[in-house]
Amino acid sequence: MTTSDWPQADPTLERAYKRLLRAYPSGYRRRHEREIVTTLLEMAEPGQQRPARADVWHLLASGVRQRFRLPAGRPLAWVFAVLALLIGGALGAAAGSWAATRTFAGVPDAAAGQALQRQIVGSPGIENHYHADSGSPWWDETAWHDTQVQGFGGWDPEQARQNLAADGWQLGEITHPPGKSATMDENGNTVELRTESNAFLAERDGVTLDIQGWTTEMYGSVTISMYPSGNAALLPLVVLGMLAGMAAGWLAAAALIQRARQGAPGRARLAVALGTLTVLALALPAVAFYGNVMRAFRYAGNDDPVFTVHSALRPGPYWPFGPEWLNLALAGAGLVLLVALVLTARVRPAPAAETQTVTS
């Protein structure tokens, strides 16, 4: 055989085809690039200098499809890929949630809380305290300011509303939550006390205040809960993050499976073991993230602190079992295992078949 029947093509066309083949996974390119380019050049029209538009789209689509493709007849690969898709979706939703909260207003700090206390209560009261709350497995940081006041005259909710309205706060309706107060007389009998309750919401600049006052004849307290109001970015970013995470999870699984198959059997077994451990470690945090996705949708727009997805990593009683840092520890362990899995699967395969060199 001679080189005369081999395709001779414009170098520009060949370079263009090679650029298009970058849409394919690297391992696939290593195995097939020269072969596909040869076929493409053989199929090219004489004198052709650039790929036809239809071929461009076809190669790009084929490359992307190849990236999603799993090896045929390997049911375990499908199981692994589906689990990776679900876990990727959960991690993506958490990332989207975290990104959205970067656009939220900050929680008022102690100085701002003190200023609000003066505006709302009008005096320092008997005593008052600012408390920062690091959040929960369901929502982010909040803060509240407590003031102990003296009896019915200790707090005037109408005056508080006027002060806030004058400062540009949007006020909700005033309500009177049901509740009772009681004390004990000298005989040890419980005596119910007349109780006044007043509550309302105020919102400004992305911050919500939940103000509640409880007073009796002798004492009372006013609590100002402060938290970001949230915005319209949260749910779309959660959904986008989830979809992107699902795609990334599947793509990563497909790439890892293909690489593991190309490697030595020992490394493939190690990759399977690491993949299994990674899935096991990330399964519980992923379930927690999906639980928070449902909460984020269910409670969207209510008057409580905004439910976020990524907060499942915050230590707290998310599960009725295990330590409070279980989700965080498992997620950390899962990511470490994932890095080990990627490093294990990175081994490049040896050249495959023997190649006969054609002489001219």
């Binding site: 696939y28 040869t38 076929t39 076809h58 190669l59 499809r65 045929a72 060199t357």
Partner: protein
Amino acid sequence: MQEPTFLILTALAAQPLHGYGIVQSVLDLSSGEVKLRPGTLYGALDRLAEQGLIEVEREEAVEGRLRRYYRLSDSGAAALAVEADRLRKRAAAAETQLRLRPGLTGA
């Protein structure tokens, strides 16, 4: 079995072929109806090799070009025979039904 797969296996039944040879053979076998594009062709070849239906017979390389010749494996030949038999029975059934069609005098 999809038509491109069937035609690729058919093209390889008689002799080993490289990529462009398969494209040309499939075009002939389908009377010009099926022109395989490289993305489709190599996706199918990869899948068929994974399934053990085809094998790489040899490679030829010159000046950065590579031709990889594929041949039908024994299991590929068996799968093709089964598919050909299935299609033959389908075609026979269709012809039988057409002959029963009212108003036709038969072929």
